[in-house]
């Protein structure tokens, strides 16, 4: 359940010490290759936590179900806002549902 990186959108977070997806992956699976793009060491080792997908500032990463477990093709994409997240989910029949909720409270210091 590889995170699929779109090389047209990915720039390896050029200028950052570590790309956002590298930072996000709890399994140390993402790395920026000599081509300057993010890759996954071992697609089979991915947990599908979607942390990399959420962190990518260019929306260049997609999580896809392996075909042995889910049919072609569904999509789930997050848009991170300030203290809120919006998810767009399209199922294999083309039906799209959007979910939006707060993921942080405003903290008064």
């Amino acid at each position: 359940m590889p995170p699929i990186v779109d090389p047209k959108k990915c720039n390896g977070c050029a200028g950052r010490e570590e790309s956002f997806c590298e930072e996000a992956c709890p399994g140390d699976l993402m790395y920026v290759g000599p081509d300057g793009k993010s890759h996954c060491h071992a697609a089979r080792d991915c947990w599908d936590c979607m942390s990399c997908v959420k962190m990518c500032p260019r929306n260049a990463i997609e999580t896809r179900m392996p075909y042995q477990l889910g049919y072609h093709k569904a999509r789930l994409t997050p848009i991170m806002g300030k203290n809120a997240i919006t998810w767009k989910c399209t199922d294999i029949h083309g039906k799209t549902v959007t979910y939006k909720y707060r993921n942080r409270l405003d903290v008064k210091d």
């Binding site: 089979r44 936590c49 179900m65 789930l76 998810w87 294999i92 993921n103 942080r104 409270l105 903290v107």
Partner: protein, 585 residues
């Protein structure tokens, strides 16, 4: 730490980094972050270091997020009530009621901390916290991990990201730090500390997951697959006493995607049904409390249906109010977003079609069941200087997020008291050199070395444990002969670790993970073998001893002799501190 370093040409080329601190926290997760925050609160002069295998912002079991805090004491209830519930959930125990009580007294304040830090806890129109069951509350916890991590950093903890722990640093019988290596920078790290809090995750991947069979996905499991039992393993190797390792965590999970089910069954009251539409809990487990039956009964029930030929099994979400269904999907997006993707990839609307469920692979997770280190009330293990909190501390089940947070605070207080006036010796150079050699050897065997990949050994272990030590394919059953078989082959695997070979630093981490898993699996098999009864079906099922035996109404303990590697097993008595019927909440 941007890119992975090149492989070293020789051991001498590996740089050694020495770090001194008052308190070293291994694992910047739920418990570890709370330890760090507590340190700043009680003594801002304490120097605290966190050794973190991934990056603290999104590491470990909380990486994907969370949709509930499973324990928060409601108005009108007491810590004692929580302990009674906790005890009944594990079939009357035996549990460590001293630990459970001290945790319960610290619990609500820890959860309140999370809300003060910005975690959205769902409340009704009157501002009252929304309970989804008797004790658990709903949250929008997509940001849970970064929220905790930010606070640990704000508290002044120095975080070493991408440093994997491989061994404890010892001064005779006492723990004075930990050793490890940078999975990106390729350095060898020596952390010397007054006290060490072992706050890693539990152990996943000891058993094969059925979703790994003939799929592209090896890690489609419920527990974080990067929590591999290193916390337990480093303690086991130094002779720490382990408790209740046989009480594995097995849970009912969504089928073909090992996602949470409490969200549906507890949060949205969707009944569990079998192929014939029969409500299993009501029809077959009414005498054990039906929907409120102990957790292992509920976990095991769907698998018993499959075994009896009455599968598939489902959580019946049909006819659910669409508004509620939308809320349920939002919960999933907070905890396991890819489950929503999975349903979409099946073209499934839960309002029309029920959600299929099945048993998970077994895990050793002391924040859920009670396997882990035997600790005293200060959370010190039997190794002086080594404390445990969260998944690693045993005897105290049903901690979950709030309880792990609470225990992180308790362990820090214990550690801070322990280091008062303590003199620290210099690390023993021979010990450090030997570990450095052990750690990097798989990377230095040379291209021509005809060896093994970590993955091969990991899969061999997982198949072995699945078939012989009571995995999913065996409906969690095992017996004396199978455990002997497993132990024989675990010994062979350990012997063959000398053939393990790593291609790069990431791979080197995988090598040490499989070494750690072997050590944990061995102890687990000894515990399963010792308990000659069946006390918690599913979690611990002996087909040769299918009944509960009062002789085993005690804690099963073990200790590995650091010199010989021999594992001794023994018992400790159960002490009931909270009065009441042990089997009732």
């Amino acid at each position: 730490m941007p890119r992975m370093a090149q492989n070293p040409q020789s051991l001498d080329a590996v740089e050694t980094v020495r770090v001194d601190c008052d308190v070293l926290i291994i694992g910047g997760g739920n418990a570890g972050c709370f330890s760090a925050v507590e340190a700043a609160k009680i003594d801002p002069t304490l120097s605290v270091v966190i050794m973190e295998k991934a990056h603290i912002m999104r590491s470990g079991a909380c990486a994907a997020g969370m949709d509930a805090i499973n324990t928060y004491i409601p108005e009108g209830k007491t810590p004692e009530d929580l302990v009674r519930w906790c005890r009944s959930q594990v079939g009357g125990g035996p549990i460590r009621e001293d630990l459970a009580l001290s945790n319960a007294r610290e619990l609500n304040e820890s959860v309140d901390d999370l809300e003060r830090w910005g975690l959205p806890i769902l409340r009704d129109e009157d501002g009252k916290i929304r309970y989804r069951g008797a004790w658990d509350i709903s949250i929008h916890g997509e940001q849970l991990k970064p929220i905790m991590a930010e606070k640990a950093i704000e508290a002044g903890a120095k975080v070493y990201n991408r440093v994997a722990c491989t061994q404890l640093l010892m001064d005779g019988p006492r723990c004075i730090g930990a050793l490890g290596f940078g999975v990106r920078d390729g350095r060898f790290y020596v952390f010397r500390a007054g006290a060490v809090i072992n706050a890693t995750g539990g152990a996943a991947g000891l058993y094969k997951s059925y979703t790994a069979d003939a799929t592209d996905s090896h890690h489609q499991i419920w527990m974080c697959p990067y929590c591999v039992g290193t916390g337990y393993a480093v303690g086991i190797r130094q002779g720490a006493e382990m408790t209740s390792m046989e009480q594995r965590w097995v849970a009912t999970r969504t089928k073909d995607f090992c996602g949470p089910v409490d969200t549906i069954s507890v949060g949205y009251k969707a009944p569990i049904i079998n192929a014939k539409g029969e409500r299993i809990m009501q029809s077959r487990y009414a005498h054990l409390g039906a929907d409120k039956a102990p957790r292992y009964i509920r976990a095991n029930a769907p698998m018993e249906e499959w075994l009896a030929g009455r599968g598939p099994t489902y959580c019946d979400t049909r006819g659910m109010d669409p508004e509620l269904a939308n809320r349920m999907m939002t919960d999933y997006l907070n905890e396991r977003p890819s489950f929503v993707l999975f349903l979409a990839s099946r073209g499934q609307d839960p309002v029309e079609e029920p959600i299929e469920i099945y048993g998970s692979d077994p895990y050793i997770v002391g924040g859920h069941t009670q396997s882990g280190f035997w600790v005293d009330l200060e959370r010190m293990t039997t190794v002086p200087g080594l404390f445990a909190a969260g998944e690693t501390a045993g005897g105290n089940p049903n901690k979950f997020v709030g309880g792990c947070a609470a225990e992180g605070k308790l362990a820090l207080r214990g550690a801070a008291a322990y280091i008062k006036g303590l003199e620290l010796p210099e690390p023993d150079p021979a010990q450090v050199a030997a570990e450095k050699e052990r750690v990097f050897a798989p990377l230095l065997r040379g291209e021509d070395f005809d060896g093994l990949r970590a993955l091969e050994m990991e899969e061999r272990l997982q198949r072995l444990m699945d078939e012989y030590a009571g995995g999913t394919s065996q409906f969690y059953r095992t017996n004396e002969e199978r455990l002997d078989y497993a132990l024989k082959h675990i010994a062979m695997l350990r012997d063959q670790t000398r053939y393990l070979k790593a291609a790069d630093l990431h791979d080197l981490m995988a090598v040490h993970e499989v070494v750690d898993r072997i050590d944990v699996a061995e102890v687990l098999c000894h515990h399963l073998r010792f308990r000659k009864e069946t006390r918690w079906q599913g979690w611990q099922t002996r087909s040769d001893y299918p009944e509960t035996d009062p002789a085993y109404d005690c804690h099963v303990e073990s200790r590995r002799d650091p010199a010989t590697g021999e594992i001794e097993t023994f018992t400790r008595p159960y002490e009931q501190l909270v009065p009441g019927d042990r089997y009732k909440p």
